[in-house]
């Protein structure tokens, strides 16, 4: 079934192609959604640019199906821009579907296999929008024009000299249309002064079929037109007087009087960033700024991060050696200068570590900008009205974490749309505005990033959750009676817990919030929920800034070293300072007016391969850890102190190890095993409950 396909692209160019296409499609999607709401003409111009560059890139690698879809969408946008047709929600649906199809077709470049997507229907529908008044379609319809943003920067001599807008089209059957346009552009440059051009001559890409130029200093318009037309493979030339006012009438976005879909997307910070991103390439100053950054392969960054990790470990070892030497030869000049060197070295290593970590950070924007589309589609499917607020899209997070957080975040948004928000009529009855609110925020604090997904919907019904949990056998009646409100709300994170009455495409598919919590926990994050019945719910995700280097508490258990991530630790105390109660063989302590179950890691991590171990109980300590709303005290033989470590995962041949997430190498070459607090708590509290 899977037919192979090859494109005109080298293997090492695939990444760049995919990323550039992604950027343009993302820009287009954000643009279409914003335009649907605001209907500003310059938005259409930006969207047009984006799809045009996708078409160009697809043409360059001879991806015909992508070109066909992009072309059809481009034609629709051109017609909107020329004021020939007006935007309606169904048209927006088609444009969005074109973006989806292009994303799927883009995959063919990676897989080398023809995808089973059919584009015929979509292309026909897109073309259908043009038929509305095809006959009136003027030549100017397809001319690229400057955006308002361009004009502000250009300082055109509008009132001083006559300006001409020249459009040149290459022949459809031309083998090298961009080259033909380039020649025409050179001809124009020889004729007058060029004030604006799109695409710029040096940016012409294979697949470009048209070039627009605003220039002054033309004496004989007809002669110029004739000369351009006489050039090889130039199919059409238009020359018209261009005035600033003409720009305003040349565009017509969506009409405000048109029926709008029932979403209202607000981007606060995010929007400001989009518009920065979309004034691309065409303005020379902007291009110069872009040249200061380079694309770097993520593998290379990973290797860099690993090497820095080793430096960090070596630094610790070096400092230890220096300390020993210092004690031994205090008066020695060389040892003293070694001390200075070590201090300086360790400062540089810290700075380097910081810089490399920063290089891996990306703004959450690329993740957040997917959400307006998701919310719009869900709202249309479910007949809900919703306003999405996005805040803190500029907050930065480690690149790999952004990828990992994608699915959990989408899940939470679906959950808020499906379970949280009520239908407009229900909201009205409840005395709320018909339009619901979903707020997505990101903030950075103390080396962590906090994401929240909040809705002003019906909130979590504690009573219903309780009944459901008992019915499903997740808790017993007695257990439920002892639980406080927050503990009951937390039950929604239990496996297979779903209160949705029916199974829909949106939520209640059996894959539930437990998956979100497990996934987030896998990379050292946590999810908690706050909710008020009738008022709404807020899911709070706490994430580490980076995965690679972690602050930990180093402890000793049965003669081996273990590292407990600080993120999970509340406090620590000596065993002989507290009174341990034992109920039915299960130990616990009273801590902060709660019963805190104790997990003796000296037993949990006992293994016959360790051989005989002598244990010194005099320094035994309890570390209280928390994850979500779960808490426990961990008993260890000894606490060594805090240590920054580089996480190294276990080899896959070892399989999953309960309670451990990997290992690290300390400054002196010793290995410490890293404790996986969420996993440990989950496994332990489950058995603890049974044993009681």
């Amino acid at each position: 079934m899977s037919e192979k396909i090859r494109f005109h692209i080298e293997a090492d160019e695939v990444d760049i192609f995919v990323e550039s296409v992604n950027e343009s499609l993302q820009m287009m999607e954000a643009g279409v959604l914003a335009w649907e709401q605001e209907g500003r003409p310059e938005q259409i111009a930006d969207i047009f640019r984006a799809i045009h560059s996708v078409k160009g890139m697809a043409g360059m690698i001879a991806h015909d199906r992508m070109v066909v879809v992009a072309h059809a969408a481009e034609e629709v946008l051109a017609a909107i821009r020329a004021g020939e047709i007006e935007g309606v929600p169904a048209m927006v649906d088609d444009l969005l579907q074109a973006i989806d199809s292009l994303r799927q077709l883009r995959e063919e470049v990676i897989t080398g296999v023809v995808s089973d997507i059919k584009i015929g229907g979509l292309v026909e529908r897109l073309e259908g929008w043009l038929l509305v008044n095809d006959e009136e379609k003027g030549v100017s319809a397809l001319i690229e024009m400057p955006t308002e943003a361009d004009l502000d920067k250009l300082n055109l001599p509008v009132d001083e000299v006559p300006l001409w807008l020249v459009g040149v089209w290459a022949a459809e059957n031309s083998l090298a249309p961009a080259a033909r346009l380039y020649q025409a552009g050179r001809e124009l440059a020889g004729r007058g002064t060029i004030w604006w051009q799109r695409p710029l001559l040096e940016k012409l890409a294979p697949g470009d079929m048209q070039i627009s130029t605003i220039l002054s200093g033309i004496d004989d318009v007809e002669q110029l037109e004739a000369e351009l037309l006489s050039m090889t493979e130039i199919a059409k030339v238009t020359i018209q007087r261009w005035t600033r006012e003409q720009v305003a009438v040349a565009w017509s976005g969506g009409d405000k009087s048109q029926e709008r879909p029932k979403t209202n997307v607000e981007h606060k910070e995010a929007q400001a960033t989009y518009s920065n991103g979309t004034v691309n390439g065409q303005i020379i100053e902007a291009a110069a700024v872009a040249d200061k950054s380079v694309r770097i392969n993520i593998d290379r960054l990973d290797r860099l991060m690993n090497l820095v990790g080793e430096l960090v470990t070596n630094r610790t070892r070096l400092m230890q050696i220096e300390e020993v030497l210092d004690g031994r030869y205090q008066r020695d000049e060389t040892v003293r200068s070694l001390g200075d060197m070590v201090t300086q070295f360790s400062n540089v290593v810290s700075l380097l570590q910081d810089e490399v970590m920063r290089a891996r950070l990306l703004p959450l924007e690329q993740l957040f900008q997917k959400m307006p589309r998701l919310v719009r589609d869900l709202a249309r499917q479910m007949g809900k009205e919703v306003e999405l607020e996005i805040e803190g899209a500029a907050t930065e997070l480690d690149r790999s974490l952004i990828e990992l957080i994608n699915d959990p975040l989408i899940h939470l948004i679906r959950n808020a749309m499906g379970h949280g928000l009520e239908l407009p009529d229900e909201r009205e009855v409840a005395g709320k505005p018909r339009v619901g609110m979903i707020r997505l925020t990101a903030t950075a604090a103390e080396g962590k990033v906090i994401l929240t997904v909040e809705d002003d919907g019906r909130g979590i019904d504690v009573k219903r959750i309780g009944e459901k949990a008992v019915a499903e056998g997740i808790v017993s009646e007695n257990e439920l009676a002892e639980m406080n409100k927050q503990a009951i709300i937390d039950l929604i994170f239990m496996t297979n817990f779903s209160t949705a009455g029916e199974v829909t495409a949106v939520s209640g598919r059996g894959v539930g919030l437990d998956v979100v919590r497990t996934n987030v926990a896998q990379f050292g994050g946590a999810v908690v929920v706050e909710s008020e019945l009738g008022v709404g719910s807020r899911f709070i995700l706490t994430l580490p800034l980076t995965l690679a280097i972690v602050q930990t508490m180093l402890v000793e258990i049965r003669g081996c070293l273990y590292a407990v991530p600080m993120a999970g630790i509340i406090e620590s105390m000596y065993v002989n300072e507290v009174k341990i109660n034992t109920i039915k063989g299960a130990p616990s302590i009273n801590w902060r007016e709660q019963v805190l179950p104790l997990l003796d890691l000296r037993e949990f991590f006992a293994d016959e391969r360790q051989g005989e171990v002598e244990i010194d109980v005099s320094r035994a300590a309890i570390i209280t850890v928390q994850w979500g709303h779960k808490r426990a005290g961990l008993i260890v033989d000894r606490i060594h102190g805090q240590q920054e470590i580089v996480v190294k995962a276990f080899s896959p041949i070892m399989g999953h190890i309960p309670g451990l997430s990997g290992a690290t190498i300390l400054g002196d070459g010793q290995i410490a095993l890293i404790i996986d607090v969420p996993n440990l708590l989950n496994a332990f509290l489950r058995t603890y409950k049974h044993s009681r």
Partner: protein, 149 residues
């Protein structure tokens, strides 16, 4: 079809691994036990800044015996995974004609034949060639996990 084989001894038998998989041979060193790891994983070691697992072939092959005091670790790299194999002693590197490989018969060897590529005859001696893919088998790993749970 000649292949270079690193030959080592484990209990009373000689085993061989294609030299292209062997990265280095190191002295026995401190192995950190990983609690709850599968039985045959003795633990992990620090190999030039990397944490790599060490497998006790004696246990993997279900040999019941008292291991000698002085063993060595053969570091092999297979499918981008580095693994240490604990063996009794490394004997030699020899060139062998692989086309003469005999299928592993349970009559000839005492270990579980699942992990073997075949048997070579070197004069009067038998050299048992290991199938590293099977020794490291991930599928079996998963199966082990499920059984353990």
């Amino acid at each position: 079809m000649n292949e270079k084989i690193v030959v080592f001894r484990l209990a009373a038998e000689k085993y061989g691994v294609d030299v292209k998989y062997v990265q280095s041979i190191i002295e026995m060193q401190t192995i950190v036990t990983v609690p709850h790891a599968p039985d045959f994983v003795s633990g992990v070691i620090n190999l030039r800044g990397a944490v790599i697992p060490v497998i006790d072939l004696g246990i993997r092959f279900e040999l019941t015996r008292e291991a000698p005091l002085k063993q060595v670790i053969v570091i092999v790299e297979f499918g981008q995974l580095q693994i240490g194999l604990i063996v009794d002693k490394v004997m030699e590197v020899l060139t062998a004609d692989i086309s003469l490989l005999e299928p592993p018969s349970p009559l000839l060897v005492t270990v579980n034949t699942t992990y073997l590529r075949g048997i070579l005859r070197d004069d009067e001696e038998l050299i048992i060639l290991l199938d590293l893919a099977r020794v490291f088998s991930l599928e079996e790993q998963t199966a082990l996990q499920i059984v353990a749970e």
